[in-house]
């Protein structure tokens, strides 16, 4: 188990932290934009940078341990194989007397084990780098965007293998990335950092549906962010903005005042048939389809009306409602699809 207590460091004027978190045997993704301090955090954990605060690994304080004493494996963006050693020599580098044959088998390296590392493909190089890191029997594996430069298919295969091997070996993994889709597909837990500070720390699904603030909402790809005001009318709570009024719920504890909301694009219902609200608790927006993009397993539908809103629809929904560009549609926004976030 890794524990960070009030860890803080700096690089020039940039300050990382203080950051505190605990991780168990899980696949933790550190997510953030370029320059957020993700790689710096990994450098601190790996022991390449001095820090304030304390770091514990499996109950032992390692804050002042040099990297070679920490037993923390690291994979960087480039495979960084030792060019003067062949595949097997690279893997054996940190293995000592440990048997690496099962690892070579598991990572499908046997076929090119004797080859010069300079003759390997990108995917093969990262497999070797992974095997080399695992061969040193680490207690924690750090991945600093190691697969970002691979083609999508190879990347997904290797990432799947990393996750399954980590599970098999009960090895905790911290994986740094700026790609939210990658984070969603891999993470047991996500920590989002911005400007050296933790912004949100939770399960992927929770972060996606309940972003802590506008930054997280935008970073996680939510296109529907609106500024307005909370208005309490009796027991009903509304979000109001110019000529818009959305019912948010009854039990929510809000007071009148400015706020920001996000609307989850996958929770919207689009109807091509006229739809009139029957009571103030139904949120319906009329608009015209301004864009329609197929994203692989869903459609991204842009609608412009009183507000500009984006909905994610399944191919079946698009077909059944016959959604086409320039068509007039009605967007039904369930109150539970609206989240009030901090801001303003």
């Amino acid at each position: 188990m890794l524990v960070l207590k009030e860890v803080k460091t700096s690089a020039g004027r940039f300050v990382l932290g203080p950051i505190s978190f605990e991780m168990k045997r899980e696949y933790l993704i550190i997510l953030g934009p370029s320059g957020a301090g993700k790689s710096l955090l990994l450098e601190v954990i790996a022991g390449f940078r001095k820090c304030e605060g304390k770091i514990f690994l499996n109950g032992v304080e390692i804050t002042n341990y040099p990297p070679e004493k920490r037993r923390i494996g690291l994979l960087m963006q480039d495979p960084l194989l030792f060019p003067h050693k062949n595949v097997i020599e690279n893997i054996k580098f940190g293995a000592g007397t440990r048997d690496i044959s099962s690892l070579i088998e598991k990572l499908k390296i046997s076929a090119f084990a004797d080859r010069d590392v300079n003759s390997l493909s990108g995917g093969e190089k990262q497999r070797v780098a992974l095997a080399r890191a695992l061969a040193s029997n680490p207690l924690l594996l750090l991945l600093d965007e190691p697969f970002s430069w691979l083609d999508r298919e190879t990347r997904e295969i290797i990432e799947g293998e990393v996750k399954s091997i980590a599970n098999e070996l009960h090895l905790p993994v911290i994986h740094v990335t700026h790609n939210f889709e990658e984070a969603l597909s891999l993470a047991d837990r996500i920590i989002i950092i911005k400007d050296g500070k933790v912004v949100q720390d939770s399960k992927p699904e929770y972060i996606f549906k309940n972003p802590a603030n506008e930054f997280v909402a935008r970073f996680t790809g939510n296109p529907n962010i609106y500024a307005g005001n909370i208005r309490v009318e009796g027991e009903r709570i509304f979000f109001v903005r110019e000529n818009l009024k959305f019912f948010l719920g009854k039990t929510v504890n809000f007071k009148d005042g400015p706020c920001q909301i996000i609307i989850c694009p996958q929770d919207l219902i689009i109807s091509s048939h006229p739809f009139q609200p029957k009571n103030p608790e139904e949120n319906i927006v009329e608009g015209v389809v301004s864009s329609l993009s197929f994203m692989g397993n869903f459609y991204k539908v842009g609608i412009e009306g009183k507000i500009k809103i984006t909905a994610y629809l399944s191919p079946q929904e698009v077909k059944s409602e016959n959604i086409i560009p320039s068509k007039k549609v009605f967007v039904i926004i369930p109150p539970e699809a609206i989240k009030v976030i901090d801001g303003i």
Binding site: A46, E68, L80, F82, R132, P138
Partner: protein, 245 residues
């Protein structure tokens, strides 16, 4: 430019009858002086490999206050007149200043000895070695060393298992370049150790005492020996490189 560089050497070699070259080569004084020059040049290079490599590593890998000043001081022997360098060395390694005194106590004297020749050669030619090795180390991705550390290797092990195997070519190039520069040194050597005579000092001595015709065969012979050694080392180096080591 090629004409400018090659013609004086060719004129020196082919302007001397082969019989004179052979008879000069058989002279004990000439032979001893050539061997002494080669040996002291090699000693100076060995000294630089042992002590200059860590310095080159420091300059390549770390940023620290005064780095620019240190770099300038290392390059200083390239710009100062070598006779001045010789006088500076004489002041430091003579018997009146503490380094000279300390070495004198353990039986090492630098005035008029092979040690003095080596020190003079090392002083004027070490910048060539340090700069080549520094460049060589800088060209190695420092992240390779970081990965080595995460795999359990100490900084010392990382240097010998990763950095050194990747920069040996720079070390060899630097050592050969330094050796070549060292054996041709006259100004600093002549002030610290006129005797025993290195080849450049011998040529000067013969020119001063007996004139051009007496100095010319010795000069040609030194040039040929240097060229042969230089070509041999470069060929061995090239072959080793082409084998991918």
């Amino acid at each position: 430019m090629g004409f400018f560089l090659i013609v004086p050497a060719l004129k020196l070699i082919f302007g001397t009858p082969p019989s004179r070259l052979i008879s000069t080569m058989l002279e004990e004084e000439v032979l001893k002086s050539i061997l002494l020059t080669v040996k002291c040049g090699a000693g100076a290079s060995a000294f630089a490999i042992i002590f200059g490599t860590p310095l080159a590593y420091l300059l390549a890998r770390f940023d620290f206050r005064g780095k620019l000043l240190l770099q300038s001081l290392i390059d200083l022997p390239l710009v100062i007149p070598h006779s001045s360098a010789g006088i500076a060395l004489l002041l430091v390694f003579g018997r009146k200043f503490f380094p000279g005194k300390i070495f004198d106590k353990i039986g090492i004297s630098f005035v008029g000895t092979e040690w003095g020749i080596m020190v003079a050669m090392a002083f004027v030619s070490a910048p060539f070695y340090i700069n080549v090795v520094r460049e060589g180390i800088s060209s190695i991705d420092p992240r390779l060393e970081k990965i080595g550390r995460t795999l359990g290797a100490s900084p010392f092990e990382v240097f010998f298992k990763i950095t050194l195997p990747l920069c040996w070519r720079s070390i060899l190039t630097g050592a050969v370049t330094m050796w070549a520069r060292g054996i041709s040194e006259f100004g600093a050597v002549v002030i610290l150790a006129y005797h025993p005579m290195t080849a450049p000092v011998l040529v000067f001595d013969r020119f001063e005492s007996f004139g051009l015709s007496y100095a010319k065969p010795a000069a040609a012979l030194i040039l040929i020996v240097s060229l042969v050694i230089f070509l041999t080392v470069r060929t061995v180096f090239k072959n080793a490189g082409s084998k991918g080591s």
